[in-house]
């Protein structure tokens, strides 16, 4: 099995989010970048397929040279090869188009992407990629097994989950559940050393037209102070929720 894992390069989950250039750009000052958590669950599942079923795992990212450390980290975790599409990731559709080119050229059977990136939260790249490739697609995937060309997947639905049967080629929008949090791997020294020897290929992007344009950003208005209610005065809490907040 030939697996492609799409990796988004995102600010660490603890990052303070600020904007620069008159609120039109994300301010990367002092921000630590990581593998998008939803992608990391997928990458770790791909490692399982590599170790148990002899799959080859390639990771790909669309972005500038600054994203290469994130790809190297994926190699250190155990991916066999990395590809960076040298294009700005400005719009979900354009990113999907770039990935579709890589996927077609590499002849991958299984493509795993996170259900969404934790920065822009667009949630559109896996589905658009599947549509562009005319491949099967399972979103919010929390379980995946592949046997030959058939696949069984579990999808999280509102209020529960469902099991589906499908076949390769398959695109998966992954999330926590594909593997457990405790299965995630911290690269060891050997992995980091080996990652330096592994191929990281830079390819040019294809021509795309952005369907959406990010215009500006805003931060939520600062919150007023919390109203504290004494623990022996819960009637007041109920009264506040009923009369002031009007939520009960």
């Amino acid at each position: 099995m030939n697996i492609l894992v799409c990796i988004s390069h995102v600010p660490d989950t603890t990052s303070k989010i600020n904007f620069s250039e008159n609120n039109t750009k994300f301010d990367t000052n002092g921000v630590q970048f990581v593998i998008n958590p939803n992608d990391e669950f997928g990458l770790t599942r791909a490692m399982w397929f590599k170790e148990k079923q002899g799959a080859k795992v390639t990771v790909v990212n669309v972005g500038g040279a600054e994203t290469e450390p994130t790809l190297r980290k994926a190699l250190a975790i155990g991916a066999d090869a990395a590809i960076r599409v040298n294009a700005a990731a400005t719009d979900g559709f354009s990113v999907a188009k770039q990935l579709a080119k890589v996927a077609t050229d590499g002849g991958y059977d299984l493509i795993i992407a996170g259900r969404e990136s934790i920065d822009y939260n667009g949630g559109m790249v896996p589905g658009m990629l599947a549509a562009l490739l005319d491949a099967n697609f399972v979103n919010n995937c929390i379980g995946l097994d592949v046997d030959g060309t058939t696949a069984k997947a579990t999808r999280e639905i509102d209020g529960g989950k469902e099991t589906v049967a499908t076949s390769l080629p398959l695109v998966v929008g992954g999330q926590k559940g594909l593997v457990e949090e405790s299965d995630l791997r911290i690269p060891n020294m050997r992995g980091i050393m080996m990652a330096r020897q592994k191929p990281l290929t830079v390819v040019d992007g294809v021509e795309t037209t952005d369907q959406t344009t990010s215009v500006s950003f805003e931060k939520p208005a600062p919150k007023g102070a919390v109203k504290l209610v004494a623990e022996d005065n819960l009637d007041e809490l109920i009264s506040l929720l009923h009369n002031e907040a009007k939520v009960i």
Binding site: T13, I17, I118, Y120, P126, G127, Q211, V215, L228
Partner: protein
């Protein structure tokens, strides 16, 4: 030209979110000077859509659509959009709608903005505001294509009554065979889901163990709420993953979110920030959640929650 809204149903009835997206569609149609057409699949109570400004309902009734397939459903919505010459297509932020919208976007060659929280600020260029950075910021996005798809964030726009008499029209689109087959669905039908709930009651590590969740469930029962939990609780296996809310779990956008024994890590706050009113019950007055909450009780959950349950029962009985 029109605005098409895909109104989802569950077990034959339109979901609450269907009326919210219909309300949103009406606002967009008013801005564009056009009408709203809703698409409903295997739903019975479609006449209620008129109360939220829908002018026409395309009703599809077909047993081949009994189980959800994103690709098949996306193709049905596409055919409806083409038939109605829709300029804007509105969908919800349910798991199913988020699954089908990117497929629809490619087939309609439409730009798609997800997690949109307000009516468009402008229609030329078409500009919307959406949640980004997991609720830590908003992004203003312009959609450049002729046909636009908007995914409306749950519980962001709300229900807006707008009486219109909706006409109904049977619609029989071509339906392809699905290549992703649903084999089993595991869903509690008697419980309100985190996505649909007006109130969510959530427990953290402060509850000390899974055996103490009885009071969380009882409090949720009294309030008609869904239960949720923090990441450590789901990682420890005290509660199922499906209850984990936060940045890498489910987002919450309820009217009321009650956090019990949750300190409020930045990743947790990000995931629940879209809730309108947040109440925190925690022994530690320094817990970061108090800075993000509207109301707080500094106290031991094991004494506060049982009292709160009794007092709420009395309150509900009076109502």
């Amino acid at each position: 030209m029109s605005v098409l809204v895909y109104t989802e149903s569950d077990q034959g009835n339109l979901k609450k979110g269907a009326f919210e997206v219909a309300s949103y569609a009406k606002a967009v149609a008013d801005q564009l000077g056009t009408t709203v057409t809703a698409l409903a699949i295997n739903a019975s109570n479609t006449n209620e859509l008129g109360n939220y400004g829908v002018n026409k309902v395309l009703t599809v009734n077909n047993n081949d659509l009994n189980s959800f397939s994103a690709k098949v459903y996306a193709n049905v919505v596409k055919q409806a959009a083409e038939k109605e010459n829709a300029q804007v297509v509105i969908v919800s932020s349910s798991a199913d709608s988020k699954y089908l919208a990117p497929l629809l976007a490619v087939s309609l060659n439409a730009g798609y903005a997800s997690n949109v929280i307000e009516a468009p600020s402008n229609t030329a260029p078409f500009t919307v505001k959406r949640n980004a950075f997991t609720n830590k910021a908003f992004e203003v996005t312009q959609i450049n294509t002729n046909v636009k798809i908007i995914g409306v964030s749950n519980n962001a726009f709300g229900l807006v009554e707008n009486s219109a008499s909706a006409t109904s029209e049977d619609f029989s689109p071509a339906i392809e065979a699905s290549t992703v087959t649903v084999e089993a669905v595991d869903k509690a039908t008697d419980k309100v889901t985190i996505a649909d709930a007006d109130v969510v009651v959530s427990g953290g590590r402060g509850l000390k163990g899974p055996e103490n969740w009885g009071m969380i469930e009882e409090l949720a029962d009294v309030l008609g709420a869904a239960t949720a939990c923090s990441k450590p609780v789901s990682d420890l296996g005290w509660r199922p993953h499906s209850e984990h809310v936060g940045q890498t779990g489910k987002p919450v956008a309820s009217n009321l979110y009650i956090a019990i024994g949750i300190s409020g890590a930045i990743q947790h706050l990000a995931g629940v920030n879209a809730s309108k009113v947040k109440v925190v019950i925690n022994t530690d007055a320094e817990a970061p959640f108090f800075k993000a909450a509207d109301y707080g009780v500094v106290g031991d959950a094991f004494t506060v929650v049982p009292q709160l349950i009794e007092k709420l029962k009395a309150f509900k009985a009076q109502q």
